[in-house]
């Protein structure tokens, strides 16, 4: 191998490090945004340096021995095979190190578990594959899903800065307030995780688990589902916007207004074409991940929409399937509002290769709940 080949190989290797250079790689835990996350950061640095110190001593001795005590330099083997004091000492020293480590770790654990005296509570529900947020005191409730376009995932367009870490509706919290998180799931186990907050809590169906945060600075914080939850596990990010109290209050009012408008929509009479148009967006956001953008599905686990017996059969069965789910098919009644459900039914029955020609009014969905 001549010098030029080596150089060009080296250049090729270096170029690996410049691809996607607009997102910087990191070597350590993210900069903490809460007191607990700061404590975790410090605990990690402490244990890391303890390990580095042990590493240097232990492997310093080992490599010294490898260099000096080898046959090729004529070293003759000693025959000792025991030394009681040495063995006692190297058992006791680790015990002392562990006690020193356990003390601050215990303090942090006790602090993490203290969810008392919270200023507000948010219920978080993991769904396959989205997050639901329910502000228990403010009557605000919404679903948060990945907003990265499919074309970016399938390499058809340039990936954005927050690729896979962006959502349509972020969770919003006021800074400086102690927010209690009530975490659960509707189908399988998920885990709600924002690294900057030092919170990772499994979301377990049928059980309510607690965690808490007090975000120090306004900003956008990004995390991901951290427990394998099925095929779209890598595509259910978590985004939290922390705002000043006044901005947060304005956001709550805006959310309440939007929800009032949506429930007003449920009472009016909708034209079928309007429902189909609205249903396309609902379908693409919620249904296409399993049943396919064209309705082809991924049989046998995820049935096709096109020509499906449920979709082309009696509309009541279709509605029941969407409201209550079946096996892997989730129940959507807690996730979608009446208009969304009526719209997606209209879309599925009159698009994706189906043409039953019928639809259902949001008011009928409301009655069927």
């Amino acid at each position: 191998m001549n010098k030029r080949t080596i150089l060009s190989l080296g250049a090729a290797f270096l170029s690996l490090f410049t691809i996607n250079s607009h997102a910087d790689y990191a070597l350590n835990l993210k900069t903490p945004a809460t007191e607990i996350a700061s404590q975790i950061y410090d605990l990690h640095m402490l244990i890391l340096w303890v390990c580095v110190a042990i590493f240097i001593v232990v492997f310093g001795l080992m490599f010294y021995s490898i260099v000096k005590h080898r046959k090729s330099v004529g070293h003759k083997a000693a025959q000792f095979h025991e030394h009681h004091w040495l063995e006692i000492i190297w058992t006791i020293i680790p015990v002392v190190i562990l006690v020193v480590m356990a003390y601050p770790a215990t303090k942090t654990i006790l602090a993490m578990k203290d969810t008392a005296a919270a200023d507000m509570s948010i219920k978080i529900t993991g769904y396959q594959w989205k997050w639901g947020y329910d502000y228990l005191d403010q009557n605000v409730k919404f679903i948060s899903t990945l907003s990265t376009p499919q074309d970016q995932i399938h390499n058809k367009e340039e990936k954005g800065e927050n690729y896979l870490l962006e959502v349509d509706n972020p969770m919003v919290v006021p800074v400086g307030q102690k927010v209690r998180l009530l975490i659960t799931a509707a189908d399988v186990i998920h885990a709600w995780w924002i690294p900057e907050f030092g919170v990772k809590q499994d979301a377990i169906p049928g059980f309510m688990k607690e965690a808490w945060i007090r975000v120090e600075k306004p900003g956008t914080y990004r995390g991901q589902c951290a427990e394998l939850c099925g095929k779209e596990h890598g595509y259910m990010p978590i985004v939290v916007e922390a705002m000043e109290q006044a901005d947060y209050d304005a956001w709550v009012v805006a959310q309440q207004d939007a929800s009032a408008a949506a429930s007003a929509g449920a009472d009016k009479e909708w034209a079928q074409d309007d429902l189909i148009t609205a249903g396309k967006a609902v379908y693409e956001k919620n249904c296409s991940v399993c049943h396919g953008a064209t309705g082809a599905g991924i049989p046998p686990a995820f049935p096709a929409m096109t020509g499906s017996a449920v979709v082309t059969g009696p509309i009541e069965t279709h509605l029941d399937m969407i409201l209550n789910g079946k096996n892997i098919m989730p129940a959507w009644k807690a996730v979608l509002n009446d208009v969304d459900i009526a719209a997606v039914i209209a879309y599925e029955r009159n698009a994706l290769g189906n043409s039953t020609g019928d639809s259902i009014q949001p008011s009928a969905v409301k009655a069927a709940r």
Partner: protein, 527 residues
Amino acid sequence: MSTTTATHHDDHGDHGHPTGIMRWVASTNHKDIGTLYLWFSFFMFLFAGAMALGIRAELFQPGLQFLEPEQFNRLTTLHGLIMIFGAIMPAFVGFANWMVPMMIGAPDMAFPRLNNMSFWLLIPAALLLIGSIFVPGGAIAGGWTMYPPLSIQQGMAMDMTIFAIHILGISSIVGSINIITTILNLRAPGMGLMKMPLFIWTWLITAFLLIASMPILAGAITMMLTDRHFGTSFFDAAGGGDPVLFQHVFWFFGHPEVYIMILPAFGIVSTIIPAFARKPLFGYASMVYATSAIALLSFVVWAHHMFTTGMPVAGQLFFMYSTMLISIPTGVKVFNWIATMWRGSMTFETPMLFSIAFVFLFTLGGFSGLVLAILPVDIQLQDTYYVVAHFHYVLFSGAAMSIMAGVYYWLPKWTGHMYDETLGKWHFWLTTIAFNITFFPMHFTGLAGMPRRVPDYALQFAEFNMISSLGAFALGISQLLFLYVVIKCIRGGEKAAANPWEGAEGLEWTVPSPAPFHTFETPPTVK
């Protein structure tokens, strides 16, 4: 009947045992069965390794290139299951079969027919696992840990996997009974318990761990089976069950399982380091006590795999403290190995190189284990690539590299030929360097927040993932060199003496190389 009588009086060396394929199918000989185990595990190692390359190919760049997310999940799941149950565990049983009788001066295993059965049970289990790839819905995609409710959602492949694990469990239990009985009853006169080679000690303890933990796993997956098909709700909150119950039961098996895969490795390395340092093992008695302590502690640390489930604070503290305690006996072992090397007269043949790499890299895995034991830090790192780095440092550079060390060390005894030392060293350096290129960067991606078991990732992780993928392909290809070296050694090479290693001790080196079909028909006397 006259022929039966006639063969009965024949010399034991050729009393008409079957030849050809029947030699293997009907074998009751510990050496042949050991060989079967070792080849089986090697093919499973290559097969599951190829799956890992599929994973790394998809993760070479962000975005989806080769696999759909569900296919990706199937690969990670099967890679884990097959590496654990198909590659690492059978490889150690292969060592036990070959070496336990020869190291304790026994003519064979205590129950030769059970021995045959415990190997041949592996084949239907492997066929079920691999066959599950081809059934409707494909292989299971819920991770090797099979947590419900996700695993309740899987197709018929889940049932095939459950059945396969049941069969593997029977195989392990039967094999363990055989190993325990052999060690406790068939030792040569004069070999007291505290004179047994350390490899025998570690396998004795491992066999007890297997008997104690495999039935627990069988219970967990049986409850899963009845939840899936017979209307029970052990793991379904809607019927009064609890999904987390599965995790408790699974990890009550799963943590001893971790030690099942590392204690025999300790035994192999504790055999090889004294041989090439030309110096007795330092602290034999403390090694035995440390191994027993690790085995006992392994039953009270299981919930450290579940720190993020939201246990009560008392549970969290207990499992953090008990987990931290494990580092003490483990540390004793590392210190003992280094004290064995200290002031020795070392040479660095391939088995020694692998053993030193084991001590160094396994300890790195131990350090990351200590980091993960600190519960608040674990909360950040649970289910990230940091954990993936951690368990590959203990399972690849720990278990798998000790197996490679052991293969090179005993190949002359098994085949009667010396392996090609130059190629062996190439295999060592390629494996060690590629391994670190693959897995060291995962510490960084994990700390920076990349979850495990995702087919796609945010752009900030792109550089390290690309490096990991390049390393993984180099690591995978290097193992073909291993295959070549082993085949070359079987087919020929320099004749090996009865004891080809200057400093090796033990009864196995007192018989000729290759070891005759039957050894120690008359027990040797150990002074």
